[in-house]
């Protein structure tokens, strides 16, 4: 398959995001019902540092392997189109979270989502999903046209 530098870079970012954040969120949501107040600060810092190192390594490798890292008008159009989908998804998720918090305060339900730990991980999940949508739609546009 003939892929541009930009496509390879996107594929690497998608893989790294799914691998590291997927692993972290799977662990977090597995332990969430058992211990809704568990602080995950240290694990989160390790995750961010690990993600930055992995991304830097992959992107540097790709930059060395590919002579041209030119970004043209098609790349910018695809990026803009995909950001719209990602933003739309994130807005819906934020609204759902806000309504959930409001309902919880009104009816005193104390759901998993409204504990600080739960809320943090749900927001992180929404953010990661919106990033995955952004990468996936960009890759899709590169293959199917825009």
């Amino acid at each position: 398959m003939d892929m541009s530098y930009k496509e390879k870079s996107l594929l690497a970012s998608l893989g790294a995001t799914l691998l590291l954040f997927g692993w972290y969120l799977y662990g977090a949501f597995s332990s969430l019902p058992l211990n809704p107040e568990l602080p995950g600060f240290l694990e989160f810092i390790i995750l961010i540092v690990g993600f930055v190192i992995l991304e830097a390594m992959i992107q540097s490798f790709l930059a060395i392997k590919n002579k041209s890292q030119l970004e043209d008008e098609r790349d910018k159009l695809i990026e803009k189109t995909s950001s719209r989908y990602s933003y739309g998804f994130l807005v819906v998720c934020i609204w759902v979270s806000m309504i959930q918090i409001l309902l919880d305060a009104r009816f005193d339900n104390h759901l998993m989502l409204t504990t600080p730990y739960g809320m943090f991980h749900f927001l992180l999940l929404f953010f990661v999903l919106s990033e995955v949508i952004r990468f996936a739609t960009q890759l899709c546009h590169y293959r199917k046209g825009v």
Binding site: D2, M3, S68, L70, D72, R74
Partner: protein, 50 residues
Amino acid sequence: MSQQTLAEKVGVTRQTIIAIEKDKYSPSLEVAFKISDVFQEPLENIFKYK
């Protein structure tokens, strides 16, 4: 002329030239004029509106 040469002359990636050829991307006027300039042909001889 190869796709790579055309891409370099126009200032886009080879994948963009491929996408234009396959009708998967409509270039901007700037890129369209640059392509016509490279081939020394009028715009309407290179691009057709469907």
